[in-house]
Amino acid sequence: MTLTPPSNRIEKKAGTVWRIQGLIYVIFYVVLVVGYVLLRHFLWEGLPFFIIIVSSVFFGLIGLLQMLVIPSIRLIYWGYDINEQDIDIQHGIIIIKRTLIPMNRIQHVDTEHGPIMRLFGLSTLNIATAGTAHKIPALKMDTARALRKRISNLASLSDDDV
């Protein structure tokens, strides 16, 4: 029996954003390895070869996974739901994580977007309780803004319930 994700999905474009992030990660390691090999070849022959290559290949592979496999799995399990009582978030890759946050526990909401996110017109919604922080990534900018407004209204409405 699997946890079924809440009905609202994040934008499919999130997959592309994550793929680009994975690509950057891979490029970083390729540059690192090439630079190291060149350094070793031209300047300093005493540098160890084996360890750096093994670790780069390892991290590079993780980067490849992040680029090719993980984004689509993530998209399958990502879902959220926001109503008068609570915020319901589900995400995960191997372990599915479901989080329920009652409206009257919410202390703070904001939206943010990094450069890649902005390129695709996406935005991340951050939600904080007293102590814990949660996020819903890759929402359309106006959706994120609308949700932020809605949540802060609902949260302050249910204030007297505390």
Partner: protein, 481 residues
């Protein structure tokens, strides 16, 4: 009287001086060692001594001015503090923002007959703690009462405050830990593991200082006496550690008294360092009843509190409400001291199919040891510990369970000690469910909830509950009113 700015007790100078000197001791010793090595040819000149005396003098002057310029007042529902010789600093600590206050008296304080007052506030991580270093006991108690809001501090009442809380006619409950129970608690505290490792470490370090010739002779005789002697030695170390751990425990919890007065809990304890903690009931976020292996055997338990903000009173980030009690008294104690948490509960046990996962999880480290054992010669160790881990896995499975009523969630689990946590729905900041691939096949999932606690929050987890309980728990958590 208290509403005007005033200084602390003049002995603050001495207290601060001692604190500062203490922190200087190591650098001074270090400097002394260096100067004695490098300064040998100059015939051991006393320059270094002068420098040290100079530093002490400067420190003393600094502390005198620190005392003069440090003034506090109680007004506008707040503790107001002005301090600083060159850079003036003002702090204004609102009564409503204070999480807890505690009175402390270390050895120096007790010798001088003064107290220090610690105030814990909510808020960002910076400056959440505040200390008045030296106060007359009378003033300290008056300030504490003012800040905890249980008494109006004015000149008329000033005198009666010091004659303690007895005149107050709000309902009171009291719990005292007698010497017998203190000893039992110390015997079963489980602090022995920690002490044993330290004693073992010291013992192993002592070997370095023993001349080799002695050591050779020692080893010869050890091997002559063989296993018997080694076992005896270990047992001896074990007993020594146990005694030390009992003393350690006793020094923390000697003279333990818990007093409930209206909405407030007042905890006093300590042999060398006396501590008094005052705590408003509504700051309690969760109550946990914990039973270590030894204590469980003797049907004993401990009640600890999760409190938002205040916590640095305890080294292990928890406030101990009742150090030890007989388990059957639990309902009576909760009714007395924590009526909000006094509920009757029967836990819903974990489904049978969770057992296998519990045993596998507990055994996994040892299985790794066994597999690694084919490379190193320690495989037998893994086999030896495997039954233990299976046992532990079973015990964890058996302990696991939860219960919900209208406003409470009770959740029990075990790592080594069995821990039953009782929480009110309104204190749960968020609820979490986790499911791994393997749990999916077995129709199980993990549940968890988060409460405010120091330093920020704490999550309590219960693994492998029935999948259907996801609906039960989330419906219970997210419902109107």
């Amino acid at each position: 009287m208290m509403s005007n700015y005033q200084r602390q007790h003049p002995l603050m100078i001495l207290v601060q001086f001692i604190t500062h000197v203490k922190s200087l001791v190591l650098p001074i010793i270090f400097g002394f060692l260096i100067s004695s090595i490098t300064g040998e040819e100059s015939g051991g000149s006393p320059i270094y001594l002068y420098i040290v005396l100079g530093i002490f003098a400067v420190t003393l002057v600094y502390d005198v001015f620190g005392w003069i310029f440090y003034r506090y007042a109680l007004k506008d529902d707040a503790l107001n503090v002005k301090s600083g010789v060159f850079i003036k600093k003002r702090r204004h600590i609102k009564r409503a923002r204070i999480q807890a206050t505690s009175l402390e008296a270390g050895l120096v304080h007790r010798a001088l007959g003064i107290l220090s007052l610690r105030v814990e506030t909510a808020g960002s991580k910076m400056e959440t703690e505040f200390k008045l270093a030296a106060l007359k006991p009378k003033n300290a108690k008056a300030i504490q009462q003012y800040l905890e809001g249980s008494a109006e501090v004015d000149d008329a009442k000033q005198g009666s405050v010091s004659s303690d809380l007895n005149q107050d006619n709000t309902p009171r409950e009291q719990f005292e830990l007698d010497n017998k129970m203190l000893l039992i608690a110390g015997l079963t505290s489980g602090g022995i593991g920690f002490v044993f490792s330290i004693v073992g470490f010291i013992f192993s370090q002592v070997f370095i200082f023993i001349p080799d010739a002695w050591l050779d002779r020692f080893y010869d005789s050890v091997f002559a006496l063989s296993v018997f002697f080694i076992v005896l030695l270990v047992v001896l170390l074990f007993i020594i550690s146990w005694i030390i751990s009992i003393f350690r425990y006793a020094s923390r919890f000697a003279f333990f008294t818990l007093l409930k007065q209206g909405d407030e809990l007042i905890i006093e304890r300590g042999l060398f360092v006396k501590k008094t903690l005052r705590l408003k009931q509504h700051r309690i976020q969760a109550v946990s009843v914990s039973e270590g292996l030894l204590r469980q055997m003797f049907k004993l338990a401990t009640i600890e509190l999760e409190v938002a903000g205040g916590s640095e009173y305890e080294t292990d980030f928890k406030i101990t409400l009742i150090p030890v009690f007989k388990r059957h008294q639990i309902q009576a104690l909760l009714t007395k001291f924590l009526p909000d948490y006094a509920i009757n509960f029967t836990l819903k046990p974990l489904p049978k199919r969770a057992l296998r996962r519990y045993i596998i999880r507990a055994s996994l480290p040892f299985i790794v040891v066994i597999i690694a054992g084919f490379i190193t010669p320690y495989a037998w160790l893994g086999f030896l510990l495997l039954p233990v881990s299976v046992c532990l896995g079973y015990m964890r499975y058996q302990s696991g369970g939860f219960y919900i009523d209208h406003n409470h969630l009770v959740q029990r689990s075990r790592v080594i000690a069995r821990n039953t946590v009782i929480v009110q729905r309104r204190h749960m900041q968020s609820m979490h469910f986790y499911q791994t691939i393997f749990q999916r096949f077995r129709r199980l999932l993990t549940t968890a909830f988060t409460v405010m606690s120091s330093p920020s929050h704490k999550t309590f987890q219960l693994k492998d509950i029935d999948f259907d309980d996801f609906q039960t728990l989330s419906d219970w958590y997210i419902r109107e009113k």
